[in-house]
Symmetry: C2
Subunit: 226 residues, 2 copies
DNA sequence: CGCAAGCAAAGTGTCAACACCTTTTCGGTT
DNA sequence: AACCGAAAAGGTGTTGACACTTTGCTTGCG
């Protein structure tokens, strides 16, 4: 996205069949098209997607790595069950990880990245002002914002963890639990505080704000689920 | 381990061929038997282990999930490269995650678990006193200790993350970088501080001590690698 | 002599078939 | 009629073979 597209990119960005299968299944699971806890029949899925079982199994293995499905030997794979308890645990984890991301981002983000983040936030502000595109865009916007903070940390271990593994699991929870968050205005303000902390290059403040932000989401959830 | 063994355990704990392959390869990579950055030839490995390529590919997929190998489409899989930079990043991550684990463990560990942890530490103390079994046992002991803290957090997301994914990667770094830590005495003292904080049920103190502990390891590393 | 195009070898991605395990159903027994 | 055991059906684990991509080498041309 940032790099000029002329500079030698990875040789042969071959998109394999397993890749497409993985994307399709991931989307289907996140959207709830394949319901929670349901068993995944390899022959049936393979037939419905018109592929062999081998490719499908490879895709399922990746889903297992994202914790979207659980497989038991000789019993097959089931879509993960979403207990409210585990959702809370996931948010606890986010608090620690994204707090760390914010702290590092305050040190490592480039001026250009910070400006781009500011532009994104301004756009979000307008959308909220107009009270339109509420549900989907605001949620997607929230994810985008957090996504950029994580990228800004420049810690590859952390980026891989949050953006490749836990990201989809979080999206699944969001979609399936409804989460028509009435606190988007609140969240937007907190995002602005965080941007200010990053602009000021204040790591401690950035971590504090981010942790508080995630904790607010969690508390809001705990009430909604209780 | 804790549950009475009569209560219905999982039906059929079948150990599949892929499981054994995964374990063998994981060990080989962690021990450095298969060197860093080396390409993994599927036909050769399949032949050497006397299995089909299909099973091998499944095992490699799991290794990829642990971040022990990286695979690129049509180019094959390579054992991950261990840069000093990424090692530092991994320790930054550990600081956040294990700090969180310690905080939660101070709240959630049972009295029995805390006692067992104390017994383990006492044993470590004797080993250090006798200055015997230095290298291997002390490293293994350190991992065991951290392992139990993580388990004690009772946060399943965190446990899965640290004990199933990042654990082996950390072991790999330890083994391959030598890490004949001369600070075992230091580490032991810090473990004792942490145990005390947990005994006192003081979450904040526990997190502080753990973060400091991991940070010390990191600083020690940064000096050794500079 | 150097370089590009093309060819051969090796390797990965994909597929269909076989073997073993699990579950269900059917028949026999108490 | 209910329960136990065995056979059949469905599903997963594993295998070997085929198709396409990449790589290294050879060959022909500048």
């Amino acid at each position: 996205m940032n790099e000029p597209s002329l500079i030698a990119l990875e040789p042969s960005i071959g998109v394999t069949l397993t890749d497409r299968l993985f994307d399709a299944l991931q989307r289907a699971i996140v959207e709830g098209e394949i319901p929670q806890g349901s068993k995944i029949s390899e022959p049936e899925l393979a037939r419905r997607h018109g592929v062999s079982r081998g490719s499908l199994r490879a895709a399922i293995a990746r889903l297992e790595a994202c914790k979207l499905v659980e497989r038991k030997p000789n019993l097959g794979a089931r879509v993960v069950e979403l207990s409210a308890e585990q959702l809370i645990e996931l948010f606890q984890l986010r608090e620690a990880l994204e707090g760390m991301a914010a702290r590092l981002a305050a040190q490592a983000m480039t001026a250009a990245e910070i400006d781009a983040l500011g532009a994104l936030l301004e756009q979000h502000g307008q959308q909220i002002e107009q009270e339109q595109g509420q549900a989907y865009f605001q949620q997607q916007g929230d994810l985008d914002f957090h996504f950029r903070i994580v990228q800004g940390s420049k810690n590859r271990q952390l980026i891989a963890l949050l953006c490749e593994d836990l990201y989809h699991l979080l999206r699944m929870y969001r979609v399936q639990f409804g989460m028509r968050s009435q606190r988007s205005r609140h969240a937007f303000d907190e995002h602005c505080y965080l941007l200010n902390a990053i602009r000021a290059r204040d790591p401690e403040m950035a971590e504090l704000v981010m942790r508080q932000h995630v904790r607010s989401s969690r508390r809001h959830l705990e009430q909604a689920l209780a």
